[in-house]
Amino acid sequence: MPRIAGTDIPSDKRIVVALTYFYGIGSSLSRKILKELNIDENIRARDLHEDQLSILGAHIGKNYNVEGQLRRQELQNISRLRSIGCYRGYRHRLGLPVRGQRTKTNARTRKGRKKTVAGKKGIKEMR
């Protein structure tokens, strides 16, 4: 299995697809990168030349934010929001949706698994 830019080991899929195994590279960015380097999209990752691999690695490492570096930057952005005390930071702290989504229902990605609230349906009897 070929190895590009450090630890990543994409499989023997087409190279456009293989690149999307990077954190931070999707299909459109992958296509763009290959175009910049004049590499055919349809070559299988294992059939790439040594030097093509190294060029790819160098190119991605130099021009794009991927993997650990990108993750670190994301965390940094969030911690900045938290520290300045703005609304978005506050939502991050509470673990609720940040971009104004509804929270009456749904929002399970942020809130985690369902917690059943006793008597929620029969609101009348509350209070």
Partner: protein, 88 residues
């Protein structure tokens, strides 16, 4: 280019004027404002604002990190009384 970029940031003129005046005179008193939709520009840094949340004015000391946000983001408009706990 999205439309909002073309339009540029919204800055409340009156507020900016007041800030510039404070810069000239050197006094730094908290500025009361209702302009929650006003973007924080670099000129605002190290000034203090009292931002209305619909009920009271919340104090905010502007730092470098806050540039580019809106004033209203720092003055919450909802109160959250926590869930749970035993009813009395």
């Amino acid at each position: 280019m999205s439309r909002s970029i073309k339009k540029g940031p919204y800055i409340d003129n009156k507020l900016l004027k007041k800030v510039m005046k404070q810069k000239e005179t050197g006094v730094k008193e908290p500025l009361r404002t209702w302009a929650r939709s006003c973007t924080i520009v670099p000129e605002f840094v190290s000034h203090t604002f009292m931002i209305h949340n619909g009920k009271v004015f919340n104090k905010l000391f502007v730092t470098d990190d806050m540039v580019g946000h809106k004033l209203g983001e720092f003055s919450l408009t909802r109160t959250f009384r926590s869930h749970g706990g035993k009813k009395k």
